[in-house]
Amino acid sequence: MHEFTVVLNLLKILDKICEEKKAERVLNINIKINPYSCLDEDNLNFVFSSMSKGKKIYEGAKINVKKGKDPLMREIIVENIEIEVKNGN
């Protein structure tokens, strides 16, 4: 239900990294969530594509959700992202 909040914060994190790393495009975003979390991967991707519309760098990016082992973990961790950069960057 709060995918909007999640994606809003996620975009803030991604914007910062992409600028630092001079990313041309984001391909994959790998996140880890609580094993009991109700967040849904399809839903997250839908919200992400709606909220990042118009930003070329995120076009076609895919959020992959992995469920962690710790049932008390309440965070949503961005483990890593796969980006495309110009050669030499």
């Binding site: 709060h2 041309e24 009991y36 979390s37 967040l39 008390l72 309440r74 110009k86």
Partner: protein
């Protein structure tokens, strides 16, 4: 073009967690015991709080933070008790977050308080995913909701310290099986403490009140 994998390791709710930690520290430094009431709409969170406040207000200094998507209907119910109440409207959000609770606390006369009750937005899903900095997490379930809830919303039961089963006065009119329910709750969280009561009639309510009293150190 080349493809790179960038290690991130950042938490999406980092800001929320930071504020929740601040809230927690602040309450601890003042010796304030705080409770976060979660549960479905209509499970009886407000009614439990009303009865609790009415029984404790003479001897304890209590503040209440009411979280709702809209309106101040719940906060108004506490006016009769003449205790400080803050209504937070989430403006559509399905849960309270730490920042909302922080501003709620800032609007309470904290130096005069020993106990703060926070009533979260009625919802068994989202409030469980947001740390708000309060001490004791409570999930309220009423018997009419059915005994399958721990199986369907495990995270809520996992992160709760207390489970209050409310409306036991109408148990006979429902299909709720208390034994099955307890078994299901404990299979998700074996440390949870369960209270069976009726906030409307007051049945078994003293057990809960004793628990609150014991939680408040003096």
């Amino acid at each position: 073009m080349e493809i790179k994998v960038i290690k991130v390791g950042a938490s999406v709710f980092e800001e929320n967690e930071k504020i929740a930690e601040e809230v927690k520290k602040f309450l601890k430094s003042r010796g304030i015991i705080s409770f976060n009431f979660m549960g479905s709409p209509g499970s009886g969170k407000t009614t439990i709080l009303e009865r609790t406040v009415s029984l404790l207000k003479e001897n304890y200094r209590i503040g209440v933070i009411e979280g709702d998507i809209a309106g101040s209907y719940d906060a108004k119910k506490f006016e009769k008790f003449k205790i400080p109440v803050v209504q937070i409207n989430t403006g559509g959000a399905c849960h309270l977050d730490a920042n909302m609770v922080k501003s709620g606390i800032e609007n309470l006369p904290v130096k005069d308080l020993e106990v703060i009750f926070v009533e979260n937005v009625g919802n068994l899903v989202c409030p469980a995913e947001f740390e708000i900095g309060t001490g004791i997490n409570i999930v309220v379930v009423s018997v009419v909701e059915g005994d399958d809830k721990p199986k369907k919303y495990p995270l809520m039961f996992k992160i709760s310290d207390i489970c209050i089963v409310n409306k036991i006065d109408i148990l006979e009119f429902s299909d709720f099986n208390p034994e099955k329910f307890n078994e299901r709750v404990l299979s998700v969280n074996d440390k949870i403490k369960i209270f069976n009561l009726s906030a409307k009639t007051g049945k078994n309510f003293n057990q809960w009140i004793d628990f609150v009293k014991n939680s408040v150190k003096r």
